[in-house]
Amino acid sequence: EPEVTQTPSHQVTQMGQEVILRCVPISNHLYFYWYRQILGQKVEFLVSFYNNEISEKSEIFDDQFSVERPDGSNFTLKIRSTKLEDSAMYFCASSEALRGDPLMGYTEAFFGQGTRLTVV
């Protein structure tokens, strides 16, 4: 069964360093997403990406964050200068189409297993 894969499973980085979290979405999917979950908190939407550009982002997704689809298979989240409060689980997801599209009906988003980012 196709699945979304994320690497690494755990990343430890020093405050101020740049990190890149990697995701390989399901191959025929067109929409990609990043979510994060700070320990003990809600899973929060960060950004969605379609057709090589950001289609929606939350207020959390400020200038220190960026996303990219560098080679047609990977989807990356870069955090430019990490802060202690960036420590969280980061989940990538992908879907075949826009979920809840009135014409296409609902299409499921598939999640990866997450990357635990620890900023020290």
Binding site: E3, R99, A109, Q113
Partner: protein, 115 residues
């Protein structure tokens, strides 16, 4: 803004028994979807069940069923004949039909199924 609240941080149940996880939400939208996601120790988020708000009939997937009360904005998950493999975090989530692409999640309920 939409919010999702799960008031039970942790629950436990004996194997083969039934357990109900609670979820309430707040929205001014009339068309939306509600979900329960399961996150086992492997950490993969897995869709358990989905409910379209326009459907009055409660969704069912094998041992999993929901009690959707639209007027009360309540969406509980019932797990029947609980199995050890049901041990996981369960997240209730909300998605507006059309418009925003984001899922809005609750904080989750940690369910432990005891042998």
């Amino acid at each position: 803004a939409q919010t999702v609240t799960q008031s039970q941080p942790e629950m436990s149940v004996q194997e083969a028994e039934t357990v109900t996880l609670s979820c309430t939400y707040d929205t001014s939208e009339s068309n939306y979807y509600l979900f329960w996601y399961k996150q086992p120790p492997s950490r993969q988020m897995i869709l358990v069940i989905r409910q379209e708000a326009y459907k009055q009939q409660n969704a069912t997937e094998n041992r999993f069923s929901v009690n959707f009360q639209k007027a009360a904005k309540s969406f509980s998950l019932k797990i029947s004949d609980s199995q050890l493999g049901d041990t996981a975090m369960y997240f209730c989530a909300f998605h507006t039909q059309g418009g925003s692409e984001k899922l809005v999640f609750g904080k989750g309920t940690k369910l432990t199924v005891n042998p």
